[in-house]
């Protein structure tokens, strides 16, 4: 820590017998010990908080996913085996040979991957609890890494179950036998990696707690160490980047748990993390969802219904495996482990900082440096973040060139040699009297020595990471074999993420080794560069300088600057962009590099961090539509908003047709007001995290959950479920949270929705944001035009005044009440039969078409033609439509039947 002039200090290395003693030893030393003659003395310890596994790996120069060689003759077979491993022998740790992941050794090990899923028979109205509810099925699939089909498929069921093609069905009489069979299966199959969906928080703890409830003492021996019981710990995982999440940590020795849910939450921003929507997103496949209240019914049926459940359970076990393959997670994570040197399991259970720390420790070891164990500051010290140039909002119909700094923060750290060991403390600046040409003074006022005095560790790590990435990218281009490609691509991605996380490591106040001097210097340099770039661009590319137009910087974010060169073709903008990037890069210290990457044309700049545009990287055709900060993915909006915004942007940017976008908005609003909207588009979903009483403010989904419990406790949402709701018309002045209602209930009872709520609270803001830069009086034009005049409200079939109403037929043509003698049309509309009939029948025909497509789709997902669709997945976009189609169909048919007399 800090720049030191002397070369070496003497250190004391204390070796203890067991890893657990390190912490105690550290405590004693830090508190201080009484030394004869010296009195009470306390010490700053170094590298005393390194996890044992990591310590071992660093000392042996082993990284995660590493091939290890034990030379012949250097080991012997153990006399007494302690584990369930296939091979077990003793050898001296210093004899291990670690092979760097190159050439032959970059290949992936043939991991045995077990994917499993359990089903429990819950009681009505309760989420399954291990103290009450039995485990009824466990589905297992074992796959060898790199192969596309599992080589073991089985399912263990409680009570008989009819056979399933290609699956080994094992039925047991008691739950105890099921659990024991599973345990034996694990031991026999000996998987290296255990995957599943939400296994860490649900499946594994459930099995273990269930076994404890049943008093099966021998169950929780699942690891590779003989007689070592699996332990459950409550763990909270907190990270600046990922937020705080509670989970359970289940230690299974020798088997990595790879919970796909955690991976998804970590690596992808999705609107919903249910297995259903995740598989819909990545595998474009809807998963059948059986409500847990039906599971018990299926279990209590016969062998056939249990088979049905088993098929469902198997599918749930198979999907995580497919996700794993599709997203090449094993490759990416193993590569990440190799690059950063941490074990695979750390990547999921821990944050970014352990990865940087691991690299730091390795590098420090190489350089004969040790890292102090600094007390965590814990203070919420703030430093100025990245700069954002004030955006000039508007709709730009000229190409906008984007100049990006390639890996800005890592480059800054490298260029200015920013590191723990190059930072000069303010007193040292005074004392040491360093020559000014040997130091850099950062814009934030810190002093760092230049690399000729002391080369920083961080810059060196970064340099290695970035050169390795360059190499990986170059290899990737040459690679032919798809597996090799996957490995290399995973590697370059891992390298990029690692490089970027180094900066974060220095700035994280609760991390191992915070150093705000570094991080604030980095951002201050960043700010300076953006300003500098802006100035250079606007000075050089002027009409005075011989260019056609004056260039203008319209927006700049952390590491990019958007420039309007004023030219009208993408090609010209690209030429100028390249020129500018080259010119400006020349004025920076290496390796800071400004790159020209892409052109936006047209470009809609809304505000800070909100923009949309068509992205061009070659002048012939655009690559895609790129949006940022616009309501296309937010999860707490209804689907309508997303569809509307996407469609509008599509029309504006790709079709370049603003009037049709406006027309589209108007039609949609009119549809909404006329009650023609597909209900599923209006469903808002929120997770129920606590029970009603625990919420301080009344929220729509909470009050609804309460209400549904009163209606029917069995199907009401429980804590942990996601509650879908729509906003319906309430009494005048009713609060929004009182107007929430269950979409199914709404469909069944024809309850009118509240279009005004959707108009004002859901769609107006995002729409105005988009249209304001384009349209004058956007709000007036879009939200108050003549299309908002006609309104239609459906009549509720229950409650309120309907109890007193008398139903009478109305004329199909003009809605006049019919006298008793007429059946279909009033006397005024007679003569229009053909036309009106055409209308009725076309409605029926349209509905029939939708009905057929929806229900056959559900059969498709379910994977069976001969069985009824059971799925109640509310995440499925067609769930409500399917229900509505059924209901509308019956109604339309009744209308049509009035013609047949």
């Amino acid at each position: 820590m800090y720049y030191q002039q002397q070369q070496s200090h003497p250190f004391l290395k204390i070796v203890v017998a067991l890893p657990t003693m390190v912490a105690g030893c550290r405590g004693i030393l830090e508190k201080g010990i009484q030394i004869d003659g010296l009195g009470m003395k306390n010490f700053l310890t170094y590298e005393s908080n390194v996890l044992f596994a990591l310590r071992f790996m660093i000392d042996c120069n082993v990284v995660g996913g590493n091939w290890i060689e034990v030379p012949a003759g250097k080991y012997r077979k153990t006399s007494k085996s302690l584990s369930n491993c296939q091979l077990e022998f003793d050898c001296l740790y210093s004899e291990l040979i670690s092979h760097a992941a190159e050439g032959e050794f970059s290949k992936m090990a043939p991991f045995r991957i077990l994917s499993f899923d359990i089903e429990c028979a819950g009681r009505k109205g309760h989420f399954p609890e291990p103290t009450h509810d039995p485990v009824i099925q466990v589905a297992n699939l074992v796959t060898l890494q790199g192969e596309d089909q599992p080589f073991v498929r089985n399912i263990m069921t409680l009570n008989s179950c009819s056979p399933i093609v290609g699956v080994d069905v094992m039925s047991f009489e008691t739950e105890r036998e099921v659990l024991i069979a599973w345990k034996e299966f694990i031991r026999e199959v000996d998987p290296d990696i255990i995957i599943g969906y939400n296994i860490c928080k649900f499946d594994l703890p459930y099995l273990i707690e269930r076994a404890a409830t049943l008093g099966i003492a021998e169950f929780p021996v699942l690891g590779r160490i003989r007689n070592s019981r699996v332990r459950i710990k409550d763990a909270t995982f907190s990270s600046r980047q990922y937020g705080t999440r509670e989970s359970k940590e289940v230690t299974v020795e020798g088997r990595v748990q790879f919970d796909l849910l955690q991976v998804m939450q970590r690596d992808y921003k999705l609107s919903s993390y249910s297995l259903n929507s995740v598989s819909a997103h990545f595998l474009s496949e809807q998963k059948e969802d059986v409500h847990h209240s039906i599971i018990s019914d299926l279990q209590n049926g016969n062998a056939e219904t249990r088979r049905r459940l088993a098929v469902y359970c198997l599918k749930d076990a198979y999907l995580p495996q497919r996700l794993l393959d599709k997203l090449m997670l094993i490759y990416n994570y193993v590569e990440m482990a190799r690059v950063t040197g941490v074990p695979l399991s750390f990547l999921l259970s821990r944050g970014q900082s352990i990865k940087v720390l691991s690299q730091l420790l390795r590098k420090a070891k190489e350089k004969n440096l040790v890292i102090p164990n600094v007390k965590r500051a814990g203070s919420e010290e703030k430093y100025e973040g990245a700069t954002v140039l004030e955006p000039k909002a508007g709709f730009y119909e000229n190409p906008i060139a984007t100049l990006d700094f390639a890996s800005l923060y890592p480059s800054i750290m490298m260029a200015y040699n920013l590191c723990y060991c190059t930072l000069v403390t303010p007193e040292d600046v005074r004392k040491l009297n360093l020559p000014p040409e040997c130091v850099n003074k950062t814009p934030s006022g810190e002093t760092f020595v230049k690399s000729n005095l002391q080369k920083g560790i961080l810059p060196e790590i970064l340099e290695e990471l970035l050169t390795a990435r360059k190499r990986a990218k170059a290899d990737l281009k040459k690679a032919k074999d798809p597996f090799e490609k996957a490995v290399l691509d995973g590697r370059q991605l891992a390298l990029k993420i690692s490089a970027n996380s180094v900066y974060g490591f220095t700035g994280a106040t609760v991390a191992q080794l915070p150093c705000l001097e570094i991080s604030s210097s980095v951002t201050s340099y960043g700010r300076q560069m953006i300003e500098h770039t802006k100035k250079l661009v606007e000075d050089k590319f002027t009409m005075l300088g011989g260019y056609e137009h004056n260039a203008e910087v319209i927006y700049g974010d952390t590491d990019s600057v958007m420039v309007q060169f004023g030219v009208s073709t993408v090609e010209a903008a690209m030429k100028l962009g390249r020129e500018a990037a080259e010119y400006i890069s020349g004025t920076f210290i290496k390796p800071i590099n400004l790159e020209f990457e892409k052109v936006y044309y047209p470009y809609l700049l809304i505000s800070k961090k909100r923009y949309a545009g068509l992205l061009w990287t070659n002048p012939d055709r655009f690559d895609k539509m790129d949006t940022k900060g616009i309501e296309t993915v937010r999860r707490d909006n209804c689907l309508l908003v997303k569809n509307l915004v996407t469609e509008c942007l599509h029309k504006i940017l790709i079709d370049r047709d603003v009037p049709s976008a406006i027309q589209f908005v108007k039609n949609t609003i009119s549809d909404l007001l006329m009650n023609r909207m597909d209900l599923s588009l209006l469903v808002i979903t929120k997770g129920l995290t606590k029970t009603g009483d625990d919420y301080e403010v009344k929220a729509a989904h909470v009050t609804l959950a309460e209400r549904m419990r009163k209606r029917d406790a069995a199907t009401a949402p429980n804590v942990g479920d996601r509650v879908p709701y729509v906003i319906v018309k309430g009494a005048k002045g009713a609060k929004a949270f009182e107007k929430s209602e269950d979409p199914i209930y709404v469909l069944e009872n024809n309850i009118p929705i509240d279009p005004q709520y959707y108009l004002e609270n859901q769609i107006s803001k995002p729409l105005l944001r988009i249209f304001e830069p384009i349209l004058k009086n956007a709000s007036k034009e879009l939200l108050q035009g003549s299309h908002t005049r006609s309104i239609s409200i459906s009549t509720p079939s229950t409650g309120g005044i309907m109890k007193f109403a008398k139903k009478q037929l109305t004329c199909i043509g003009c809605k006049t009440l019919l006298s008793n003698s007429d059946q279909t049309l009033c006397s005024n509309c007679k003569g229009r039969e053909a036309e009106l009939y055409c209308k009725s029948v076309s409605q029926v025909s349209e509905l029939e078409q939708i009905f057929g497509r929806l229900w056959t789709q559900c059969q498709e997902c379910q994977g069976s033609l001969h069985q009824d669709v059971l799925c109640t997945s509310r995440d499925c976009p067609i769930f409500y439509r399917r229900k509505k189609a059924q209901k509308d169909m019956a109604e339309a048919k009744r209308q049509l039947d009035r013609w047949s007399f």
Binding site: Q149, S162, P163, I164, V165, G166, A280, H281, S284, Q286, F622, K624, M625, T646, H650, I654, M674, R676, R832, E833, A834, E835, Y837, C838, K839, V841, S842, Q843, V844, S845, E846, E848, Q849, F851, G852, R853, L854, W855, T856, Q857, Q859, E860, G863, S864, L865, H866, Q867, D868, V869, P877, I878, Q886, M889, A890, K893, R894, L896, W899, S900
Partner: protein, 462 residues
């Protein structure tokens, strides 16, 4: 053979007033008596009377189909391969040869899916519209109530079969859990009743489809010529003599084209109201003329103002205020089945074959027709890709008795062939072209089940 009726432009203008002149002409020539035939409607199975949508799903129709077909196939299997054991998908054992009966399901990569509407990434390029959704990776799966098994081997070609066909398969389960198919048994042609070819005289049935009144393609003059020909208002005595031998007219769908774009849920302006009903009125006038002279059956088609899913119910009588007054005018279901002088005639307005064309391959339209007969199912792709009513206790599209004539309307080309069954059944297959495109109708002789076309052309020399 083909008869052509040509009217040159000069005559064209006056053609419109033929009906008005009809009365006069008949007085001048010797009275020709139109031949008669006995008619028996067999549409009952296609009628949806008291069935409603009560939340039933499509599984029941598959169940009914499998049940009926399995009973049938099991009885055939005993003659086909008496020594091979029969089992269910569940009962399969690896390596053991057996016969399984089940519903085929074709897994198709390119099959359009309603979920695509919700897909995240809206592609910048509009999707190319496919006319055929076949893909080399498609494969077949056999399903019964007990489960599914993937089918392997080269015997069963995925390009021929479609989802919904029930077959018996001989084969064995492989190590990978697939079923290696060694041989296939289709149900084959249904038994046929002996045609009562009692009429030793020529009697003709005219088949028309795709008149599309009201569309830009249709030529009202052409249709009027046809009407006049049928009603005997055209040509000399010889020609009228032939016309008098027409005993029945069948209109196989798509008679009108209604500008459905007008129907967007809003109330219609009065001028649009009339645009909506004009084509139907036009059709009604022509039909009235035909019905006055000869029995006519009209079936709904995909573009007609009728429901969408099969079986399509008869076009409403309100649409035909003129022709409904005649008892010779019958509005029928699609599919439509009837007997004429003991000749059983079955046909559709084309949806079943059009759907097969999208999801399988064949040389021509007639081959698809042959397949449906051999599979004993008029529309196997219902309900999977072709909409149908969710029947609960029956599958009306099963062909229990083999027809003597099987026609399909609204095809691109005219085609006909005789199909011979294993038990000596003979079926006349007819693919009726669209009238609005070709000006062609098909004429069938009930005496010997031979058929020919009749073309109507109008030339305008400008």
């Amino acid at each position: 053979m083909e008869n052509r009726v040509k009217v040159l432009a000069a005559a064209a203008a006056s053609c419109f007033c033929f009906p008005a002149m009809a009365g006069m002409e008949i007085d001048t020539v010797e009275n020709l008596q139109r031949k008669q035939s006995t008619y028996k409607s067999l549409d009952e199975t296609f009628e949806i009377q008291n069935e409603t949508y009560r939340g039933q799903q499509y599984s029941q129709i598959y169940f009914a189909r499998l049940h009926m077909m399995r009973t049938l196939l099991y009885s055939l299997v005993t003659h086909w391969k008496p020594h091979v054991p029969v089992c269910t998908v569940l009962g399969l054992e690896e390596g053991k040869e057996c016969i399984i009966v089940g519903t085929l399901y074709k897994h198709m990569k390119l099959k359009p899916c309603i979920l695509d509407e919700y897909s995240k990434e809206r592609s910048a390029v509009p999707l190319v519209k496919h006319h055929n959704f076949m893909h080399p990776d498609d494969h077949l799966v056999l399903e019964d109530e007990s489960g599914r098994v993937k089918l392997g081997g080269t015997v069963l070609s995925p390009s021929v079969y479609v989802t919904g066909v029930v077959v018996a398969l001989h084969g064995k389960e492989t190590g990978a859990g697939d079923f290696m198919v060694l041989d296939v048994l289709e149900a084959g042609l249904a038994p046929q009743i002996e045609p009562q070819l009692k009429s030793r005289e020529d009697k003709y049935v005219v088949f028309i489809s795709g008149v599309s009144a009201g569309s830009s393609l249709s030529n009202p003059l052409q249709f009027q010529l046809l009407v006049d020909h049928i009603t005997g208002h055209l040509g000399d005595e010889k020609e009228q003599g032939i016309a008098a031998e027409i005993v029945h007219v069948v209109i196989a769908g798509n008679s009108v084209e209604i500008p459905l774009g007008l129907l967007n849920g809003q109330n219609l302006a009065s001028k649009d109201q009339s645009r909506l009903s004009e084509p139907v009125q036009e059709l009604d006038i022509s039909l009235t003329q035909i019905a006055a002279g000869v029995p006519v059956d009209i079936m709904p088609g995909s573009n007609d103002p009728a429901n969408f899913s099969l079986p399509q119910q008869p076009l409403n009588r309100w649409l035909f205020p003129g022709s409904r007054a005649y008892n010779t005018f019958r509005s029928c279901t699609n599919p439509h089945c009837f007997e004429l002088d003991g000749v059983r005639i079955l046909g559709t307005s084309g949806q079943n074959i059009d759907d097969l064309k999208k999801y399988s391959e064949g040389r021509d339209g007639l081959e698809f027709m042959e397949r449906t007969l051999k599979w004993r199912h008029l529309a196997p792709t219902t309900p999977n890709t072709l909409g149908c009513y969710p029947f609960t206790d029956r599958d009306p599209f099963l062909i229990e008795s083999c027809p003597h004539v099987y026609f399909v309307g609204n095809q691109d080309k005219y085609g006909t062939r005789i199909l011979k069954g294993a038990e000596g059944q003979l079926v006349r297959l007819i693919s009726i072209p669209k009238f609005c495109n070709t000006g062609m109708v098909v004429v069938l002789n009930l005496r010997n089940l031979e058929c020919h076309t009749l073309s109507f052309e109008t030339q305008f020399s400008s």
